[in-house]
Point group: C2
Chain length 168, copies 2
């Protein structure tokens, strides 16, 4: 397979992949493009390579920056802004985990705390079933939260080494 074709494949699969994770196709594609491009790219480069409009490009780059996955790069003597993606995949994964934890897991745990305090007789079958479900989700959620905290701080070696040993 030729490089051009391989790149194309990677970008398009990464985009499709993203949609299974609540990330829009274009955002994932821009990320993919920046991941496999050694040098920083401008908005125009990205627009051209992915065939998307200026506005779309701009918005999705902004999102990627908010996610901490892409950064603006200033080239000396150049007026245009350049963009480049973090290439260390372990760092990328940790960053995504960190953000999703903050955006999704933590608010969910907060809500579950409230729901657990539902009024009424705990012997009522309906109340019991509700509280049991909420409690067990909360318990697992808290556990996951702690586990992810450690993961976020860990080095890749730690993950690949220790954890895997444990699993044997």
């Amino acid at each position: 397979m030729k490089l051009t074709e391989a790149k194309q494949q990677f970008i398009s699969s990464w985009g499709a992949f993203g949609t299974h994770w609540g990330i829009n196709r274009t955002m994932a594609q821009i990320h993919a493009l920046l991941l496999i491009t050694p040098d920083p790219l401008t908005q125009d480069d990205i627009m051209e390579q992915l065939n998307i409009s200026r506005g779309n490009t701009n918005m999705n780059i902004r999102d990627l920056i908010n996610w901490g996955l892409v950064e603006r790069v200033l080239m000396t003597g150049e007026r245009k802004e350049y963009f480049s993606a973090e290439k260390d995949i372990w760092k990328v994964v940790k960053q995504i985990v960190k953000e999703r934890k903050k955006r999704e897991l933590e608010p969910m745990l907060k809500l579950l705390d409230q729901l657990e305090e539902v009024e009424g007789d705990k012997r009522d079958k309906n109340i019991k079933s509700f509280v049991d479900t909420v409690s067990s989700i909360k318990k697992l959620g808290r556990q996951a939260d702690k586990t992810l905290d450690v993961m976020i701080k860990a080095e890749e070696n730690w993950f690949v080494g220790n954890l895997v040993k444990l699993f044997k």
Copy 2:
């Protein structure tokens, strides 16, 4: 908070939560409803409680069954089909992990294998950057794949106990 309100909140948040994970709102809501309802429900019960059409209900129940999260229950002497969700959250999580691994992670790893074999001189900066990215994603992906395999087989106690100790 009253039970009715708490249930409503849970269902609607679970639905919103689902959309961040590429799952449609209704499917997540039906799942939530079945999780907190002690007895199995019929299609009509679900339609009524969530205010959705018959077709929509039917399709999403089918999806939930395909995901292995809901099962048909036959009530003796009843003609209608009833549905009930697995209530053990650890089992639910494992089932979801298992399915997503099969549907997403494994095909992605297969693709990366192919992409890694791109033609050309590895000293070319563009080829090198591409191959490096693909390889490192593959490496981490394979690791995750193995780790998830162990997790799928594990008991909840193992997760809550051993893993957490390791993390301290």
